[in-house]
Structures are given as C-alpha cells and as structure tokens.
C-alpha cells in the first residue's frame, strides 16, 4: 500500500511536469485517488492491474490528446512496473498565453 502511494506520488509529479497537462483530475463518478494511511494522491489511481492517470489538459493544445497520452505513458513507463497505463482526460481548460510562459 505504501509502495502504491509512493508510486502514485511519483507518477503525479512526473505527469504535472509534462507540457500540456494543466492539472490532475479528481474523477467524476467517484474520486480518482490512491489512498494510504492518512494521505491520498488525487488524480492517480494505482491498483494491481493498472495505473490510471486523470488529467485536465491545457487549451490551446500543444499536440492532439492521443499524442499527449502517449508522451505521458513514455514518461511514467519506468515507474509503473509493467502495469498498463490508462489516461483519462477529464476536461480541457483554456489558459492565457502568458500562463504558459
């Protein structure tokens, strides 16, 4: 469980550092998070079958979403321990140009 939390934290940091990702999503029907003792990492769900990343994408897009998802997968591949990665785009948020700088 602690490993899952650590993995979720590491994935969260890596994904937020990718250009085009505005923030991590929180889930729509149920909270998307990995839970640990007294702590949770929102936007990343780690379970034995997969690692699921919920993101909010910045608009205008720097690249189409499938390409961004592929970049996310590549970036976190070394951390996910061979578990398949699912990317869920929850929303697109307009950002001002100077916010990107």
């Amino acid at each position: 469980m602690a490993d899952d939390l650590q993995l979720a934290r590491s994935v969260s940091e890596a994904v937020l550092a990718i250009g085009g990702v505005h923030s991590l999503g929180t889930g729509r029907y149920a909270e998307a998070a990995t839970y640990g003792a007294g702590e949770k990492v929102r936007g990343v769900v780690v379970n034995p079958r997969e690692v699921r990343v919920h993101i909010v994408v910045s608009y205008p897009l720097v690249e189409p979403i499938p390409a961004l998802a592929e970049r996310i997968r590549q970036r976190i591949a070394s951390r996910t321990e061979d578990r398949p990665t699912t990317v869920v785009v929850e929303d697109l948020v307009k950002v001002e140009q100077d916010e990107n700088l």
């Binding site: 897009l61 997968r73 990665t85 869920v88 785009v89 697109l92």
Partner: protein
C-alpha cells in the same frame, strides 16, 4: 433500460408484499376480512378453464394475443437487460479516454457562431473508439438551413479532430426559433 427494469421489479415486489399482507389478513380473519368472501372459486374455475384451453390448443383469440404479447414483452426486456451498458467515457485509442462532458464542451464551443442562437450537445460513448455526437442548434427563422447545417457539422468535426477525438457518428439538427425565446437574444 436498467432503471425501467428496476422500477418494474420494485412494483412487482411491492405488489407481492401487498398480496402477502392481504393473504395473512384474510386467512386469519383479521379486521373483518374473511377468506370465504373472496371469489376464489370463480377465479380458480377461470384459471382451470384457461389452462385446459391451452392444453387442448383451443385458445380464444384474446388469450392467444395476451400470451404472445407477454412473451414478446419478456423477450424485449430480456434483450435490453442483456445488452451491455454504454461506457461512461469516450475511448480515443487503446488506454486513452476522455469524459463525455469534455467532448460536449468542445462541441458546444465549435457550434457557437453568429447564426446559431443556442445549442445543446449530447454525447454518447461507444464500445469502439469514438463518440456519437448529436447537436441541436437553434437558428433564426428564414436562415439558410443547408449551409448553416454543413457549417456547424464542419466546425464540430474539425474541432474534435484537432483535439484527437474520433467521431463515429455526428448528427446536426437545426430548429428555427424565435430569438426572443433563446439565450442569445441580440447579436
């Protein structure tokens, strides 16, 4: 359909509960309810007659119609129940999904134009990659429906493909509305 089935089951179970309570009341003779007062003899005779008719193949047209109708209804309900539900999210490619709300927002932004007074978008996710997008847009009476419809269709298609959302089915329906009754009253 699952909600409809649930309602049917709830009503059925509620009916069975009421029947059970009444059966207890009648059989114990509580509060003036007496089993002897129930027309059970007539009911059982009718039932026996109907079953005998079924056995001998001598069915009345109404009985036959009722049986066929109930069989057909049962089949339709069964098919709808067995049909897997539509997914919540739109699949873009293997392992990449987008929420229906995000697709709706993108489509609504694409629809916006001076000739469109207001619009609503409904997105259905499909089992295969892609979404089914239904756009309903209001235009002023007398506008060129054909060109507006193709313009809206092009814009939505272009916007969604820029984002990378595959659209398997895009339908645009235009309705003429009084500008005083729509959101965008003055342009």
């Amino acid at each position: 359909m699952r909600i409809f089935n649930r309602i049917v089951i709830i009503l059925l179970l509620a009916g069975l509960f009421v029947l059970g309570v009444l059966a207890v009341l009648y059989s114990l003779g509580v509060a003036g309810y007496r089993l002897a007062e129930l027309p059970l003899d007539t009911f059982s005779q009718d039932l026996i007659r109907a079953v005998r008719n079924v056995e001998t193949g001598n069915l009345h047209v109404l009985d036959l119609g009722g049986l066929l109708l109930s069989a057909l209804l049962g089949l339709v309900l069964l098919v709808f129940e067995l049909k897997p539900p539509a997914p919540h999210r739109v699949r873009m490619q293997q392992g990449t999904y987008i929420t229906r709300r995000a697709v709706e927002n993108e489509a609504i932004e694409a629809v916006e134009s001076p000739e469109v007074l207001q619009s609503s978008v409904n997105v259905e996710a499909q089992r295969r990659p892609g979404a089914k997008v239904n756009v309903k847009a209001s235009i002023r009476p007398g506008e060129d429906v054909g060109s507006t419809q193709s313009g809206v269709q092009d814009r939505v298609q272009r916007r969604l493909s820029q984002v990378g959302i595959p659209v398997s089915n895009l339908k645009v329906r235009l309705v003429e509305s009084d500008p005083r009754e729509t959101r965008a009253r003055v342009r």
